[in-house]
Subunit: 407 residues, 2 copies
Amino acid sequence: MSEVLRLPKGFKASSLEVGVRYEGRLDVGLIASDPPAAAAACFTENAIKAAPVRIGIERFLEKMGQVELSALIVNSGNANACTGRQGLESTQLILDALSSALGVSGDQVLMSSTGVIGEPLPHEKIIRAIPGLVDGLSEEGLLGVAQAILTTDTREKVVSRKIAMERGEATMVGIAKGAGMIAPKMAAPHATMLAFILTDAAVEHETLQRLLSMAVDASFNRITVDGDTSTNDTVFLLANGASGTAPLDMASGPDLERFKEALFGVSKELARMIVRDGEGATKVVEIVVRGGWSLEEARDCAVAIANSPLVKTAFFGEDPNWGRIVAAAGKAGHPLIEEALTLWIGDVLLVTNGEFQGKDQEARAHEVMKRDEFTVTLEIGTGDYQYSMLTTDLTKDYVSINADYRS
Amino acid sequence: MSEVLRLPKGFKASSLEVGVRYEGRLDVGLIASDPPAAAAACFTENAIKAAPVRIGIERFLEKMGQVELSALIVNSGNANACTGRQGLESTQLILDALSSALGVSGDQVLMSSTGVIGEPLPHEKIIRAIPGLVDGLSEEGLLGVAQAILTTDTREKVVSRKIAMERGEATMVGIAKGAGMIAPKMAAPHATMLAFILTDAAVEHETLQRLLSMAVDASFNRITVDGDTSTNDTVFLLANGASGTAPLDMASGPDLERFKEALFGVSKELARMIVRDGEGATKVVEIVVRGGWSLEEARDCAVAIANSPLVKTAFFGEDPNWGRIVAAAGKAGHPLIEEALTLWIGDVLLVTNGEFQGKDQEARAHEVMKRDEFTVTLEIGTGDYQYSMLTTDLTKDYVSINADYRS
């Protein structure tokens, strides 16, 4: 089997067609770890949080962050969001059944859900599937889970890394879903989609959470498809130590650096996969804003450009409409000066100190925009701060997908 | 001729096909007032401001708000934004030629522009047209100006009111354009499109500005098409006193009330026309958020819902996808509580205290959403604050219009 799908030591996974919303597709997945794994998590900062997110946040608060997990169960087809007390009960019933089936403590299992908002989760269907999921657990089961979490995604998203450490090798593998309702929320620990990152390295809890928060801030929090932040966004990072490598904490030096590099790499690659698979998207565009006098200035301008419908439709039209880019930055609430703006599309200089570089350069920029991926770089001044975002174009297919979603 | 097109006393208008960007359409308009009119204005708060906006703001600052105008000239086809020093010179050359042709002081004329950003304004074409525009000034000329300011708009927008006052009758007429790059910016005096409101009432300067700022905040600042704030947005209010009615100030009592009512009415009606003519829009939806504990809470939730691509595509799909509405409110940054949310679509109760009211109500809400206009009301708590926004659906035509704009 493919290298990319091998689970780190101690992890197994399985998936089933349960018919949560649609028949004939994998829609429930189980990831289990023996020994139990140290867990870190980032949850959505949307004020309206799905039931499994509320239960997850409560668990991390109760345990002061010291959460050990034996299993994560996840379903697509239904977000179990805006479902009130009934929704919390549904999640709890599933978690109870799961911990019984696995013979582990009730506080060693958690859940994620994704799909339609505001409809009751058919928890009986999922509970009935638990024995089968547990029986089906295998070291080859991750691809099925990667498929079971998809909603409007068109393909599964899996990334893996080997981490060479002083006392041997650890492995990290991540899966993710997310195509619409994708937008950055900056304050870690908060995320913007569903991702599960598993490693057999051993990492102390606080270090694990700190690294995950940083990685999420540098990856999942810097992508946008439509500027809508979901009620269910969650990233889990599980580290079970089964590789036998030395336990890491913030003082672990080179090993910690290698682990961090792997985690950032996996997170960024999954984030880019989400953007590439954005609803209706035909292009991935990196927006780089530099020369800001503060991080906020650079960030707010980058986010405003990345979310502007007029900029995103111009990307779709392959139109180097630099006025829209500049106008989008201008609405971000910072005192930009037109005469200080310099803009590149790819490596084509389009505007220098506010001055348009002419039709020839525009034609070259148009050529760059025909590519599937390109970069827009806006220099807003001579400050030291830079921020970048990954975004998509806005297409007719985005409208079709979302106007038809529930029909 | 139609009542709606009669200019208030002392005003004349004219328009011409100048070929600023396209041939064969009215694209320059002139509005003149004799006697000169007291002027108030609201300009965009986008940091990147078009040349005519920069000159307008400077004029109001220089004159400490005491601006008297004999004429406004306006063009479509070119925004004269992001055009640097050259753009400022172009506007100034046009204003100089206009004041000479009219025989008025240079500080009695101002300009507005709308159209493509980042291309030099062909000022010679406009200057050559000025004698013809001046010769053509007539009391029947307003409809032509209303047509000359259109860009992606599909129809002209004209509203008029009679104002019965103690000493006779005044008239107010407003024209507007705006279809895309429409978004609210709250801090008056700032606006979000192009509108010219003319009245033959007499109003003291400070009162005129204060009333306009309030009217803009209650109308043009509460509409959104795509969340993009333009570099050129401007509202002018000119009052020339030619009706002979008593001069109004903040102490004018009932006459002031009647004037205010007319101004708010004209502003709101023009704002609604802009939304109805929003790029690709098939529906006008009023978003009402009430029960907020602060105005900011109600406003931020209303704006988040009104700008959410997922909500707007659901409107297009006539899908009562209340989860998206609630999720959009949830991302506005306020601590909403799911169990406190109550939602109506039209008069159909869909969610009560976080609880979905069932498929029958959903079917009724779907019927409401088939209408061209409907209201979404979200109660977020038991506070006293309410805010409303007018928005559109997001359609495939929006994408077409903006992906093809410059081609």
